[in-house]
């Protein structure tokens, strides 16, 4: 064996040893408020983060139902099981603060993911979609597609979701700026049964009274896409949200004009990375350039992008680009790891 090969082998062995020496004992739990398709991307994000950053675990754990008490029980159980860092979509922006306090007092950092805790809270920061901004941009895109017509309906998520009111306000603001009217807001329908019932009933009775539909929650976007396909009338313009196959296919087929993509994968991946860093000694920078929203002054936008028929086949690349950009400067921008 040549000397150069021996040196290369030795270097590789050293790197492996160093790698295992630096392998983290951080066990991250990614906990949504309840079962919902939006969060499923967190599972793969956690797995990838555990592999890429050498974490002991980054597991996606779902409360069996959308109940604050069920989420609290799960979080307490996960702490008992040895999880020592938490990425949480708060079951309630105020009611979850107490549990977050208990987790952080046990030494486990908490990051609010996809939805924020209301300040003051022990969460290091909130990493999520700037939901208001996303809804605002989506409404602007819808109004652009609608041309001169100005009557829109807004289908959105649970009222207990801290993001819902932000979305309602943003849609209203964008519509007002363009001289449009939000003729109907239907909320609390981010589940198949109420969404099917209310959207179909509304369109059956009032389809002629609206020119555009904006949806700002996953399930209503899917149901409204299906409804427009069934009606077969492409007069009503629609901008959806997220990347469900039904919505993407409706965009391809021309029933839906576009969708506002969020970045759940990036949230889970970067959140797991940050949680590990915080647990192993990094601090949040005092002068980090956080944004503010109605709930917190420590908000980081995980990115959003509008995708129409022209980009629908390459949306994954678009989202990967957003994640890559955010991750590239994340530590430098938000964390102080100089110990």
């Amino acid at each position: 064996m040549s000397i150069s090969k021996k040196i290369a082998l030795a270097a590789a062995a050293t790197m492996l040893l160093a790698g295992s020496a630096f392998a983290s004992d951080t066990q991250v739990a990614l906990v949504p408020g309840g079962p919902h398709p939006y969060f499923t991307a967190w599972e793969q994000a956690g797995k990838d983060a555990a592999k890429d950053f050498g974490l002991a675990a980054a597991d996606y754990k779902v409360p069996p139902k959308w109940e604050l008490s069920a989420q609290n029980e799960l979080l307490e159980s996960l702490l008992t099981q040895g999880y020592n860092a938490f990425l949480i979509f708060p079951g309630d922006p105020v009611g979850s603060v107490s549990t977050a306090n208990e987790l952080t007092s046990a030494g486990a950092p908490v990051i609010a993911l996809a939805g924020c805790l209301k300040d003051p809270s022990p969460a290091a920061f909130c990493l999520g979609t700037d939901t208001g901004h996303s809804a605002y941009l989506g409404t602007k895109e819808l109004l652009k597609a609608m041309g001169g017509k100005k009557r829109i309906a807004h289908f959105t998520g649970f009222l207990v979701d801290p993001n819902t009111q932000l979305r309602i306000d943003a849609v209203e603001k964008a519509a007002k700026e363009e001289g449009a009217e939000v003729v109907q807001v239907i909320a609390d329908i981010d589940a198949p049964e109420p969404a099917e019932e209310k959207i179909n009933a509304y369109l059956a009775a009032h389809a002629g009274e609206v020119d555009g539909i904006i949806t700002t929650a996953w399930v209503p976007a899917v149901v409204a896409s299906n409804a427009l396909r069934k009606i077969g009338d492409k007069r009503i313009k629609m901008v959806g949200i997220d990347h469900d196959e039904v919505v993407l296919k409706a965009i391809k087929d021309g029933y839906v004009d576009g969708t506002m993509l969020q970045n759940p994968y990036g949230q889970g991946y970067i959140g797991s990375f940050a949680a590990d860093k915080l647990r192993t000694g990094c601090k949040v920078k005092a002068d980090a350039p956080f944004k503010s929203n109605a709930l917190t002054t420590k908000f980081i936008d995980s990115g959003t992008v509008f995708v129409d028929a022209a980009q629908v086949d390459t949306y994954v690349t678009a989202m990967q680009g957003i994640t890559k950009d955010l991750f590239a400067n994340f530590e430098k921008t938000y964390l102080d790891c100089a110990q």
């Binding site: 069996p64 306090n101 207990v160």
Partner: protein, 344 residues
């Protein structure tokens, strides 16, 4: 032990009254069966689940159990009359939100706010009871309607905004650990259970409640004011529901409209599980505060243990159902066997 309209009044045939030790009938009761099941499952989880007996887990388990126990009590006191209170969650949230409003907005001292919150619970219970007695409709119908009315009014008046400007004593109480692992919430639940047992066993009003539930016509002929007693049961249920929500408020450090879910429906399952497992008869006339307490502890322990065993979160509900069915069947078999051996 369960208390019915016969055992509540000490007679020569049952001189022991509330005594448990030395009474062989106790070994045939739901309560003894539940104690056995709690011990058995406790040992199983201790063997299989890491940290089941860790101080933090015992504390967390006790705190969740306390709320479930209290919800069970709030329902039990109405089941005793043969009725139901589906508005138990809605009333509870109204009481807690009212208390939060009085403290945060009006600046009232917290002890007074707590009393007024409990009073509101009793007042809403009075509306339920009065409507049941005067209309003659089953409490299922009445409380199904008032559940929506109470919750809707609360959301309208508060705009679904939380009250978090509570004195630190609330959070301190909700997160305190006595001896490192006992939640004060559990002590409150146990205390309420003891008071309910004393009421049913030793007070006139308690016996009247059992009598009115067992046979209303006979109770009326005996001079029991059945209508008034039913109203009283609903008022007690309302104040217990409000007390439960105040405990949840202490646990969360805030009064939040979603603490019992939409319309307070999240409380319905635990409201029935504890009393029914504990031996309270749905037809009325029999109450078991101890059984309700133990039933709620068992259900909470099973959920906690299954979560620690890392049974998939979605399987927890299914496994919980299977284990409960198994537990009830084993308990029934145990009682049949003991009865066969004429232990009693």
């Amino acid at each position: 032990m369960s208390i019915d309209s016969h055992s509540a009044t000490p007679t020569p045939a049952s001189p022991s009254g509330g005594r448990v030790s030395g009474n062989p009938r106790f070994y045939l009761t739901n309560e003894f069966g539940l104690i056995c099941l709690i011990v058995v499952f406790g040992l199983i989880f201790a063997l299989l689940a890491k940290n089941f007996f860790s101080p933090f887990n015992l504390f967390a388990l006790g705190r969740v159990a306390a709320v479930n126990v209290m919800i069970g009590f709030a329902m039990m006191v109405v089941i005793v009359t043969g009725g139901l209170n589906l508005a138990v969650g809605a009333i509870g949230v109204c009481g807690a939100m009212f208390c939060g409003f009085l403290i945060q907005v009006l600046g009232l001292p917290w002890p007074l706010a707590i009393l007024l919150g409990l009073a509101l619970g009793a007042g809403l219970g009075f509306i339920n009871g009065f409507a049941v007695v005067r209309s003659g409709l089953h409490s299922f119908i009445i409380t199904l309607a008032t559940m929506s009315i109470f919750f809707g009014a609360m959301v309208f008046l508060t705009r679904a905004e939380s009250f978090r400007g509570l004195p630190p004593i609330f959070s301190a109480f909700g997160t305190a650990r006595l001896f490192g692992f006992v939640s004060p919430l559990l002590i409150v639940a146990a205390l309420v259970g003891v008071l309910l047992s004393i009421m049913y066993r030793y007070t006139v009003v308690g016996r009247e409640m059992l009598a009115a539930g067992a046979k209303p016509e006979a109770a009326a002929l005996s001079g029991v004011p059945v209508g008034r007693t039913i109203i009283l049961c609903h008022m007690l249920s309302g104040s217990l529901a409000a007390l439960t929500a105040l405990l949840v408020m202490a646990r969360n450090g805030a009064a939040i409209p979603s603490m019992a879910g939409q319309l307070g429906q999240d409380w319905l399952l635990p409201a029935f599980l504890g009393p029914v497992l504990g031996g309270t008869l749905l037809s009325g006339g029999r109450a078991s505060p101890l059984g309700t307490f133990l039933g709620a502890i068992l259900v909470t322990m099973l959920t906690n243990g299954l979560l620690l065993l890392r049974v998939g979160e979605f399987w927890v509900q299914a496994c919980l159902g299977v284990l409960l069915l198994f537990a009830v069947l084993v308990d029934k078999a145990r009682r049949s066997y003991l009865a066969h051996l004429k232990v009693a």
